[in-house]
């Protein structure tokens, strides 16, 4: 991820009120995760498994925080049960920032299946999402997605495509 994109995401998260993030890094997310780790305005918790981060974000919400989870789409697949039982079932909002490996522009054949399954899983779980890539799309998508997450009391996802990740 280009530093400019990472900075735009962090600034938009802060503007949207996000003050707590759980993260699981990946090569494409490195700049974003390191920037979040340095930012004193956002409490960052690096996790060992993405579903764990969903639980941590839900607990933080119950304590009054505005949480987001930063992960790749493989981690979103790992998180499905946690999202269903801990967020969707009681009605707890967590903003999901999901890097989309295996989408258009993907060169690594290993990512194709997870890439193909990402949007159908979001749709199957009735999680609303915005796909973004260009710098100017990022801020409005994050602000509007966080507004919906808080008002609907449900997770809402930002899916970052290759243009944002590379």
């Amino acid at each position: 991820m280009k530093p400019k994109i990472a900075a735009e995401i962090v600034n938009a998260l802060k503007e949207s009120g996000v003050d707590f993030v759980a993260t699981l890094t990946e090569a494409n997310l490195h700049e974003l995760v390191m920037l979040l780790a340095e930012d004193p305005a956002i409490q960052q918790v690096p996790v060992t498994r993405e579903e764990e981060g969903i639980g941590i974000c839900a607990g933080a919400y119950l304590g009054g925080k505005h949480p987001a989870m930063v992960m790749m789409n493989a981690g979103f697949l790992v998180s499905a049960n946690g999202l269903a039982t801990v967020c969707l079932h009681p009605g707890i909002p967590v903003l999901l920032i999901i890097g989309h490996n295996g989408g258009v522009g993907e060169e690594n054949p290993g990512h194709a299946t997870v890439g193909m399954l990402t949007e159908p899983l979001l749709q199957g779980m009735n999680i609303m999402y915005e796909k973004v890539g260009r710098l100017e799309e990022i801020r409005p998508a994050i602000l509007d997605s966080q507004t919906l997450a808080r008002s609907s009391r449900r997770p809402v996802a930002i899916v970052l495509n290759k243009e944002a990740l590379r």
């Binding site: 579903e51 764990e52 639980g55 607990g59 119950l62 304590g63 946690g82 039982t85 009605g91």
Partner: protein, 202 residues
């Protein structure tokens, strides 16, 4: 020892502490002993320790107690490493280890074999770890943890079995609203807000 006897021993010591319970019998047992809006009863196996961590980090001045189980923690072992590294002083992680999947008709878990969850907590980086097997020891370990004001892990080896208590009557949605309204009131924060009416002039 029975889990219910452990819970009975510590229930009188609770004031405004926040509690996260694992799915299963512990939810109903605890609610029968301490019905309180500061109880959050998860309908999920595995994430009790993580929800407790998030809550403890969000409210560092409130004590958070997690009632976890062996089957649950085995599903989320990485949370031990995350919790130990975050090291919230206000979190007490209690695992009732009955060495079986009690709510799933009792097949053995890994702790019926070679696995020691207290040793795993120590290895993950918890500095205060107790392992107890009678209710008196459990109460002592809990009171020490409460007084310590530092991250604590208590492994309570218990017999399988759920006490005959009336089931908690509310669902996850009602529990969330009760808990969140309680936090809003006691912390003077707004969590569930609605936008002003479009007709509003202010």
């Amino acid at each position: 020892m029975k889990r219910f006897d452990c819970l009975k021993a510590i229930a009188p010591h609770f004031k405004e502490e926040l509690v996260v319970t694992n799915i299963g019998g512990v939810r109903h047992e605890w609610y029968s002993l301490r019905p309180h809006p500061g109880n959050y009863h998860l309908q999920n196996l595995g994430l009790a320790s993580s929800v407790g961590l998030g809550l403890a980090l969000a409210l560092p001045h409130r004590k958070v107690i997690v009632f976890d189980g062996d089957g649950s923690l085995l599903l989320n072992l990485g949370s031990l490493a995350t919790i130990a590294n975050q090291h919230p002083k206000n979190l007490i992680h209690i695992v009732f280890d009955n060495e079986c999947y009690e709510s799933s008709r009792g097949a053995p878990t890994a702790t019926a074999g070679m696995t020691d969850l207290a040793a795993m907590a120590k290895g993950a980086g918890f500095s205060h770890v107790a392992s107890v097997s009678d209710a008196q020891q459990f109460e002592t370990a809990f009171l020490e943890a409460l007084k310590r004001n530092n991250l604590s892990f208590i492994l309570a080896k218990v017999d399988p079995g759920i006490a005959k208590v009336p089931p908690a009557t509310f669902d996850s949605q009602e529990n969330k609203y009760m808990f969140v309204r309680y936090i809003e009131k006691t912390e003077n924060v707004r969590i569930l807000v609605s936008p002003p009416s479009r007709g509003s002039t202010s």
